[in-house]
């Protein structure tokens, strides 16, 4: 069966830590940084469980600040 691998790249400095991408991810890949903040003081989003990403783009579509790029590979 084909296996789908995904990954996202988040523009940490642009991120406002709104948490909407975290809520939108069906496979619970993303979280907000607990302690670290970016230059604007926001707890930015990151891939906490990168291996679970399926590259579905849900996080990127709901991100109001267009911080997320999505990559997807289908391994046959």
């Amino acid at each position: 069966m084909a296996k789908v691998h995904g990954a996202v790249v988040i523009d940490e400095e642009r991120c406002k830590g709104c948490d909407l991408c975290v809520a939108a991810c069906p496979t619970k890949v993303l979280l907000l940084k607990d302690k670290e903040v970016n230059n604007r003081g926001y707890h930015y989003a990151y891939m906490a469980q990168p291996e679970a990403c399926i590259g579905c783009s849900s996080c990127a579509i709901v991100c109001p600040d267009a911080c997320i790029e999505v990559y997807r590979v289908v391994e046959k």
Partner: protein, 257 residues
């Protein structure tokens, strides 16, 4: 598979829209305006209309829309976007002309301009963000504010006997002969945002083809005005806003014909 094998330009399936400028949007974290800006930027690019589009920006939080989406814009006085768009479109009939307006802009101070532009069937697309409140000025009651909803000017909740009923202006606009397409959408989930994108595309196509006025209402959140987190705002919207402002097409002249 290693991350560096996946993160490779050949595998890219979603990137920041080319027509969004590098400017950081001034909107609060989680604000629906950002998602709608992104959709508009993507669509204008996909439709090859970058050089042929003129947006009309409102007064309200989206007053700086022209700093974010890289097309030509004019800035209207509060509520006057449909009147200005009328002139822009009549003088440039081949252009894609759209307005971008909040609920205060479109259904309080701009009610007359909106209704008459739609009643004349001006060939424009109206993108209307309904967050049920005046966001920019600090969260005062708007005509769209729900019964019982607390705002800066209704601290004990909106009272119908004092403040009147919430105004569903898209439902009114759908009654007018000049509108060809009126729909209510949302952008709180990826599925909703995809549908909203198709709706805005249809509105843009109608405006280009001269089919009359199209209105796409996006029921959105204003977490600062509502005093909730962005996530809690989405939940509050689903629970409360969608009852008064149900999603779906209110008028679609294509289908009815």
């Amino acid at each position: 598979m290693e991350l560096n094998q996946i993160i490779n330009p050949a595998n890219k399936v979603y990137s920041r829209p080319a027509l969004l400028s590098e400017n950081t949007m001034h909107y609060c974290p989680g604000c629906s305006h950002g998602v709608v800006h992104k959709i508009i930027a993507e669509l204008i690019d996909e439709m090859g209309q970058q050089e042929n589009t003129i947006g009309v920006a409102p007064v309200g939080c989206a007053v700086f829309a022209y700093n974010y989406i890289d097309v030509d814009w004019v800035e209207a006085a509060h509520g006057r976007a449909p009147a200005l768009a009328t002139a822009v479109k009549r003088l440039n009939p081949e252009k894609l002309v759209f307005t971008y307006q909040g609920d205060g802009d479109i259904s309080a101070i701009g009610t007359a301009e909106t209704i008459h532009a739609a009643n004349r069937g001006e060939n424009i697309a109206i993108i209307f963000i309904n967050n049920g409140i005046y966001g920019m000025t600090g969260g005062q009651m708007a005509p769209t504010t729900l019964e019982g909803q607390k705002t800066a000017t209704t601290p004990y909740g909106r009272r119908v006997d004092l403040n009147g009923y919430p105004l569903a202006i898209s439902t009114l606009l759908a009654q007018l002969d000049g509108t060809c397409y009126v729909t209510r959408q949302a952008v709180h989930t990826a599925a909703a945002a995809r549908k909203a994108k198709s709706a805005i595309k249809k509105a843009f196509q109608n405006a280009l083809a001269g089919r009359g006025t199209s209105v796409v209402e996006i029921v959105g959140t204003c977490s600062s005005g509502w005093k909730l987190s962005p996530r809690a705002s989405n939940a509050w919207m689903e629970e409360n806003m969608f009852e008064k402002y149900p999603l779906g097409d209110l008028k679609n002249a294509d289908v009815e014909k």
